[in-house]
Amino acid sequence: MNCAECKELLVGYIEGLLEDSQKQAVESHLQICPPCRAELKHISALRDRLTANGKASARIGLENAVLDRILQEQSLKLRKANKIDRQFQLWRKIMKSRISRLAAAAVVIAAAGLSIVFFGTSMPTASAARVLAEAAEAMAKLRSVYIKVQIRTMPHDNFELIGLDYDFVPHEMWKQFDGTFHGKWRVEKPGRVVVMDGQSSLLLIKPNHAAKGEAGTGFVLWLKHLLDVDKVLDKEIELARIEGSELHLTHDTGLDGKDKLVVAVEALAQGDFTNDWLKNKSICASNNLRIYAFDAETKLLESLEVYVHTEREDVLVLRITDIEYDPEIDPTLFTLELPEDVIWHEQPKEVPSGYKYRQMLPDEVAKAFFQACADEDWDEFLKYWSFSVVDQRMKAYLGGLEVISLGEPFKSGRYPGWFVPYEIRLKSGQTKKYNLAVRNDNPARRYIVDGGI
């Protein structure tokens, strides 16, 4: 046995895992080799130190403290859930007992083909249609709006992403209604900002990645619906018709003592969740309850809370914390200064042997993409990448990686592309197991990596 072989077996020797013959070989070598004896001594000393530290940690008992906290939080959640449930039970009761009051609303519902449930205590004869028309009229007079929203998401990730166990991330939104169809707006969170100057939009992913979009681009997706505060109810009615969500309209008294018009929307997750990878990762991909409150007099939107329903609980994922109507907005907010080293997102261009790339299937693209990372072949990498250059940060992260496994591609939710399960080992030794998103709805018609890195 030589030193390298002995060192390879030392841990097994200390742990008593060697077969007799191996053990004897190690012991014979140790007798004649001072450096290996020193190595054994070092490892044993480290092992003793780890054991002693482990024993000190074991003296701390967290069981009771954890169980107490779980019970406390459980009863709190239960009370909250009961409250929501009671609210709906109450609505259902009133719906049953005051059929006559619903007659007018029923006409509207039947005419629109929607499942709108309307009842009111202070204006029993008003129709849902009238209330909605008044709200639309009030909103049409707006010149500008500023909204602060908290969303459970990741600061740098796309605006659509939500996560039930993520922390709340502050978002700010400004919109100037200037008579044009799109208006000017800005949406910002710590890691991303989008501005729309009335003609086109610009996205900055901090620090230096950017993308240009047309006027109707979807950088902010669901939030756009909120940004169009003047059309929020119209949009909900449209969604109810298309997606089969259910609208409840009622009156409530707010904390300020004023009469509120409350619109609750029960919406179902949209898309195919045979594989539920995308389930609950966006508002559209979740079964959710959206509760809007409008001032009954001015008909202006005052608050919104969005809860995602899960089997265990309802999780608040989005809430408006502040809305200001007609504030003065500094026009420079609708422009964006980009860093000098900006890297542009671009649609894939035709490449030599384009046919070969167009023929590749999602799993083949994933394999080729990771191979390019492994070989640090950045020209090849860019054929599957949606930005114009690869920066040093990305090269350092992905360069020289090793693919442990690739799985069967699958689809989820409404995502137009495919997800390819992968497990890789990075140069740092860290392993990562995730799903690579690839899509080919681009002019070059080849799959490119769209996310999941």
Binding site: A58, L62, E63, V66, I70, L164
Partner: protein, 177 residues
């Protein structure tokens, strides 16, 4: 007979909150050591470990692979530690702006070792945490992490080498100070 993680995870999902106790007992040592290395204070580590377990309990329905419970717990612990560090930084800044002195944190007895363990690559760190702070034998570590026994000993061997190097560097720094 000792039940598997999967068994207790299923029990918790079926509403037997009290069975979560066994999982806390099983993983509190490794989590505390990991968090102490990250946060540098025993008290903060205990607080973060509690928070980690509470969050884990309420999101256990989302755990896709109950056999990978430990890796999942480490992921939650990392998020909690990050939040705690952020909050601590804020309160320190506030205290400094008010010219107040922040009280010194109580380091654990072998903070240098815990910090070195925390700095190990994930696959090595998990083996060390389970072996020494979770009281698992090498075979149990292999079972929990779904890796061959040979990989466990190989990872331990590499972890020892890295720990020695990092502890040596730390001692050298101390001497220079």
């Amino acid at each position: 007979m000792e039940q598997t993680d999967k068994y207790y995870v299923e029990r918790c999902r079926n509403g037997h909150a009290d069975d979560f106790r066994f999982l806390v007992r099983r993983y509190q040592g490794p989590l505390l050591a990991h968090l102490a290395g990250r946060l540098g204070s025993r008290d903060s580590a205990e607080e973060a470990a509690q928070e980690t377990f509470v969050r884990a309990y309420f999101t256990i329905g989302k755990l896709e692979k109950p056999q990978s419970l430990f890796s999942w717990l480490l992921g939650i612990a990392n998020r909690v530690a990050k939040e705690q560090q952020r909050n601590l930084q804020r309160s320190r800044q506030l205290a400094e702006s008010l010219s107040q002195r922040t009280s010194a944190v109580e380091l654990s007895a072998d903070y240098a070792l815990e910090r070195a363990v925390t700095a190990l690559p994930e696959s090595y760190r998990q083996v060390v945490l389970l072996r020494y702070y979770g009281g698992c034998s090498c075979s149990q570590v292999a079972e929990k992490l779904g890796m061959p026994l040979g990989t466990v000993t190989k990872n331990l061997s590499r972890a020892y080498a890295m720990l020695r190097k990092s502890l040596q560097q730390n001692e050298d720094c101390e001497v220079r100070k």
